[in-house]
Amino acid sequence: MVSIDQYLVLSAILFSIGTFGVLTRKNAIVIFMCIELMLNSVNLSFIALSNHLGNMDGQVFVLFIMTVAAAEAAVGMALIIAFYRNRDSIAVDDFNLLKW
């Protein structure tokens, strides 16, 4: 029997890795992927907790998180493409017109 703590720690590991990726990668799409990784780690937590606590709320929450992730992906990709058209780049270092 795998204990709840193991799932939660695994989730924490994945969350930290995702955070690390957001902080270091320069490609906007990859950053978005890292964010997806973070959301997935949350999903894992939710489902593990839901199973542990014996109620369904956590799993319903995960369904919604997935919906949101899909919606964000659609809008995010559209934004990335629009930016790419104008700047020929999706490196976050090139988001540098607005500063100071």
Partner: protein, 494 residues
Amino acid sequence: MENLVQAALKTVNFYAIMPSVILVIFGMVLLLIGVFSKPGRTTHIAWIGIIGLICAAAATVSAWNGLAIKDIGIQFGFADQVAQDGFALFFNIIFIFSAALTILMSDDYLRREGYPINEFYSLILFATAGSMWMASATDMMTIFLGLEVLSVSLYVLAGFFYNDVRSNEAGLKYFLLGAFSTGFLLYGMALLYGVTGTTNLSEIGLILSSQHQAMLGNPMTIAGMLLLSTGFLFKIGVVPFHMWAPDVYQGAPTPITAFMSAGPKAAALAAFMRILLFSFAEMQVDWSALLWILAVLTMTIGNFMAVSQTNIKRMLAYSSITHAGYALVGLVAANYIGFSGILYYMLAYTFMNLGAFAVLVLAGKKGENNLTYEGLAGFGFKRPFLGVALSIFILSLMGMPPTAGFTAKFYIFAGAIKAEYIWLAVIGVLNSAVSLYYYLRVLVAMYFRDPQEDFAWVSMPLGAMVSIIISLVGVLYLGLLPERVMELARIAIF
């Protein structure tokens, strides 16, 4: 399966979310009308959107009266997912005003900038509906989805000028950072779910209060609360989660900047307040201490950063960060004056900030590169009415009596003083003195510099004028006779 449908239908209570339902319907109707309209013709769509907002306002008022007649403070719907109470309804009014003023000032602007696209108005209506769900939700899930409807609309709206690199950049930055903060928000929600086994705010509050020792000191509870707060503080634009705000505000289309700094900010505050009050009332000492520091940081850093700006839009972005700090003071005070003060403050801020932006929308040339202090030189003489209006809004932002800004600040700081946070109030007042440095520059530019431009491009379209006049009336009414609205704000606090 029959049972499931019946059980589901039993929970349905559209009356509890009527204003948002109206807005969603109108949003879809606008899309349909857009299909049958000639491209580039959007004026009638904007006005239909206004009609939708008026209907939503009517629904809000009638709901308010309904509550008053039945003499109940709160009414739940959808299996305790949403509550209809004074708090939600008061915020609904704030959202409706900010959306209406935004739509009114946008129509001519969008045509000038070359993006007369009808989806713009639908998105604003959807964003407003999302704000309403956030303010009335009593469940983390509904809050989260309301927040996402709002955020996703705003990502699009911020990047709405798809041919403009700055707008792209603003949208993309907001999107990436917003999604990132959502990660933290969700992690916090997961932890809270783990601690309490539920996502309902009142039930969380119940569990956290009935099991004091075991649950309140639990690191998981505290971490959950803090991570959850992080997500909201990001949306509110509190230091150190504020850094997206200036960039996004500067790059986004101007009416959207105005919209973002009023409505969505109020929505995030509303949801945050409800969570703190419903779920974490027992931990008030903890979050008050945290917010004390953050409020001071936000006021001060926002102010200092605003001093050295040259672009007025960006200056107003920092100023909006500062104002979020003032609003937080009410949250720190954590008494009913402070809370109702926040409601009042957000309403006042909606009028003064959107009013100022409405004038700037008219003053900008295509591309808006002239929205600097020099660009406004002599504006007050060339366009006397707009000059006076902008001056009044700026004075109100400064906190000069007898404008809305003064009464609102007074209210908030009175709350802090009442709660014996005297130093916080002093820092707040000191900060509003510092804010003079940059607000004054607008007035100096408008009235004490020789006109460099003829401002020939400044037209006075009906919609923008209506929005400026509504804002003026709002600012002066709230400044001179705030009594009635304050009373409403007071009733609105649970």
